[in-house]
Amino acid sequence: MPPAIRLKDHQRDKRLIRQRLLAATVFILLLTAVLVARMYFLQVVQYEHHSTLAENNRIHVQSLPPTRGLVYDRNGVVLAENRPSFSLTLTRERAGDWRQVLDTLMEVLELDSEEKDTYIKRIEQGRRPFEPVPVLFELSEAQIARVAVNQYRLPGVEVEAQMVRYYPFGEQFAHTVGYVGRINEDDLKRLDPVEYSGTHHTGRLGVERFYEKQLHGKVGYEEVETNARGRVLRVLNRVEPQSGQDVYLSLDIRLQQAAKKALDGRRGAVVALDPKTGEVLAMVSEPSYDPNPFVTGIGFKAYAELRDSIDQPLYNRVLRGLYPPGSTIKPMVVLAGLDAGVITPESTVFDPGFYQLPNNSHKYRNWNRGGDGWVGLELAVARSNDTYFYDLAHKLGVDRLHEYMTLFGFGRRVALDMFEESAGLMPSREWKRQRYRQAWYPGETLILGIGQGYMQSTPLQLAQATALVASRGKWIRPHLARSVGGEPVTDPEPLPDIQLSNPEYWEYARKAMEAVVHGARGTARKIGQDAPYRIAGKSGTAQVVAIKQGERYNRDKVQERHRDHALFIAYAPAEAPEIAVAVMVENGESGSGVAAPVARAVLDAWLLPPELEGPPELETDDMQADRQEAALAELPESREQHQ
């Protein structure tokens, strides 16, 4: 049976709609009555209240800025705190002609007229009506007194006590903790205008920047009734601000200071990680600068001095310094070779002092021109034999080399919580095609195998690669913060661990690195001689200027600033690693001679009880000879540009 066809019943439809219109009319009348009632309530019942508010000019909402969270080291030593400081504010709406008031103020405080534009800019940045804008910071007692005496000439000007950030250790933590700076117009576009309505500073660099959200806290406010002159008559309502969360760093101030001391005034970088946890134990970039002037606004001259200094104190060498890693990548290259099967623990290469590609006359030289003879894995690392690694890199090829080195963190950002980390550069065929529009040359693979050529890495990447060897491939991204607001820091996107086809390979890399420090022919055997624990290490040199084919590196001819950078990586104790270190000394020339002792000092400071610090060193003729040989070992022949 077909379904019954329903005809349109217009009368029924009309009735239905009429009912609905009736219902709608009732709603409309009800809602209108609600509006009238609301207006009656506001305008008649509450008339007195509102009219007083409006008459007395009125209610103001003042934001109550939250107290910024503190930053501690792992022992609970305060690295960033808040100190009360007096600043001078001006409220445009209360000042009348505020430019006139500013002139008077400058006359009263005898301020430098050149800074006038800065003050005007600050005042014009005011965001909401009747908001006091800070003009001057850190007033002295004398200045406060002068303002008080001349108050009648300075309408709208007030002296306010504020909490201002202070870094008690000055330059020691500028490159890690960073600093806060005054909120500028660019920041205003980025920051929540409500949350920052009472705040004058925001994190600029380092931990202060990365953990800005947690450190800042939540804004509170106060609804106050004021008279026409802006005096607060009473508080109508107050919601307390919530302080920012405290951040505990994994840095250890003693280790930090030991590292700085070990660098002994040289330019350079030291990073120490805990390979088990990924915590950064020390992170030093020297020279540094005092962050405190940046908080209140550093003067133009002082800033220019820092910026233009040849020593580049503002430059964070740990995170942004890019250096060819040199021979320090050899342990990782060995692991790549073993895993890919192009070398075995037993295979050897004959070193006549150079390496040649088939059908090519170019000689890629070992640093030891006489050659080391038959070289196996362990000796190749211990002696830093270049020929062995030319051969290994050639067999591995650039593609696999790139792939393995990327696993070790080269060419990408490794840190979990550091601001403005550089990714470095791990070259590949693809990269060279895009960058230079050129094919990859086989010779470039060879020098990449000894960490030279296009490759660039940061000291942090070197430390992380070392930690990976120490922890047998366990990937934990290095982080500065241990806990934020009491919560431990966790990695939201952990990276996969490095899986080798045979876990035994890690042992070969460790033994080879131990041979560097403790072996009879190791390049850094000097630092291993009196060590109460076993160290696994590797030295390296990063060249600054290229040297022509056939020419030898002659330190006397090279200007001090063009000398090679000295590198050393190490972890200890070798069998149960507790600390992994990377050291870079700018223009230090010798990885084993200059950088290795710095690394040793840092390891000692962490592993030895303070009272048992190593005995004073005895200089012998023997050791001096060793040092010279070791220094020589770090001068790679690849400084010859092979093209």
């Binding site: 019943d9 239905l16 709609i17 209108t32 509006l35 305008q43 509102h50 508010l53």
Partner: protein, 381 residues
């Protein structure tokens, strides 16, 4: 209208016999009079709210004039013609919304405008305020009332698509008005009470579950701030605190034209646009507010009268939903400014500064006039 009539009479004869001049040009006199009164009153208030800016006044007046022209033009179309073009209009409107969405993504920010420089510049969301009730009225009127479950679901999808697109822009005020206009057409079409009740009762436990099990504390905070702006006095709550003080200090008779202190001392942000009722309330008091509400009510009642006497179901649904949406403007705006409702951007009809909403509103009154004046003196079949 199924009265008998003499079939020998031509249509023209009937018109001449019964129809006034205004009706011949398809204009409803009552609506026109009330609209002109409200428009004039609006300009009067705007002069004070806009700090006596004549440029603003001229701009607003010309928008009103342009809107009146559009209204007269639209009134010439037969509603049956409109019904035929409902579906294509809907599709075009949604298409334009999609274009805006895509362009907005390209420009890396929200945009509501379609802008062909030198030719035209408009917000597709505004078009939807007309197309939405048109579409639902057309769709529901095709079948027997009340709509079956299937047609209800299809109608809801038709409403949801543009609503979500506009809400994403994000323009919550307009999205809500578009949503309301579609739902009103369904309501008038006889959407069963028990379904309405079921939907309302489902919302409460669903909200309860969401609140307790799914929402994080910052999301809860955002909802709370939205529902109670006064808890956020540094943000949107500032406006409400100030507008309440402005309204309350007006008292019964107000402080007099141009005498409002809150609005003239810049305490009241947006005083010439969404918050303009606060200026009226401060300067003309409760009396002024009631007069304005009376004006709106008269307009709404005339429109409801037109709805009741419309000849076709389509005409009734269209006219009714436009009327109810108009009232939503009034209620939401005044409710928001007086602190009863959350702050969403809805202007006060014919008073708030801004040409777009005036033109759109006058267009919808043009449709009402068309429904009222294009009558066929034949029995409906």
């Amino acid at each position: 209208m199924s009265r008998s009539f003499d079939p020998s009479l031509g249509q023209g004869d009937v018109f001449q016999a019964r129809v006034s001049l205004l009706q011949r040009i398809h204009i409803d006199g009552w609506l026109l009079l009330l609209l002109l009164l409200l428009g004039a009153g609006g300009l009067f208030i705007l002069y004070s709210a806009g700090s006596k800016s004549e440029a603003m006044l001229i701009k607003q007046a010309s928008s009103f004039g342009f809107g009146l022209l559009a209204m007269v033009l639209i009134a010439q179309f037969d509603p049956r013609f409109m019904a035929r073009w409902a579906a294509p209009a809907y599709l075009a409107g949604v298409g334009l919304l999609l274009v805006v969405e895509v362009m907005g993504h390209k420009a890396m920010g929200a945009t509501r405008w379609i802008n062909i420089p030198g030719v035209v510049r408009f917000q597709p969301a505004e078009l939807m305020k007309i197309f939405m009730p048109l579409t639902i009225a057309w769709y529901v009127a095709r079948y027997n009332l009340p709509p079956s479950f299937k047609h209800l679901v299809i109608s809801l999808v038709l409403v949801a698509v543009p609503f979500l697109l506009i809400a994403r822009q994000p323009d919550l005020g307009t999205a809500m008005l578009v949503l309301a206009s579609g739902l009103f057409a369904l309501f008038l079409g006889g959407l069963r009470w028990r379904w309405i009740l079921a939907a309302l009762t489902a919302v409460i436990p669903a909200g309860f579950v969401m609140w307790n099990f799914f929402m994080r504390s910052y999301q809860k905070q955002r909802v709370l701030t939205f529902l109670n702006p006064e808890s956020d006095p540094l943000g949107s709550g500032w406006n409400i605190i100030q507008s309440k003080a402005a309204i309350g200090s007006g008292g019964v008779l107000g402080k007099g034209w141009l005498q409002g202190t809150q609005s003239h001392l810049d305490f009241l942000p947006e005083s010439h646009t969404d918050f303009i009722i606060a200026v009226l309330a401060e300067e003309f008091g409760l009396v002024g507010v009631c007069l304005l509400l009376l004006g709106y009510l008269l307009l709404v009642f005339r429109a409801l009268f037109i709805t009741l006497h419309a000849q076709t179901v389509f005409g009734k649904l269209l006219a009714g939903s436009l009327t109810l949406t108009f009232f939503v403007y009034v209620f939401v705006n005044i409710g928001m400014v007086s602190g009863l409702l959350p702050v969403v951007g809805v202007p006060l009809p014919f008073v708030s500064y801004g040409g777009t909403s005036i033109v759109t509103l006058l267009c919808s009154f043009g449709i009402l006039m068309a429904v009222h004046t294009h009558r066929k003196w034949i029995a409906q079949t």
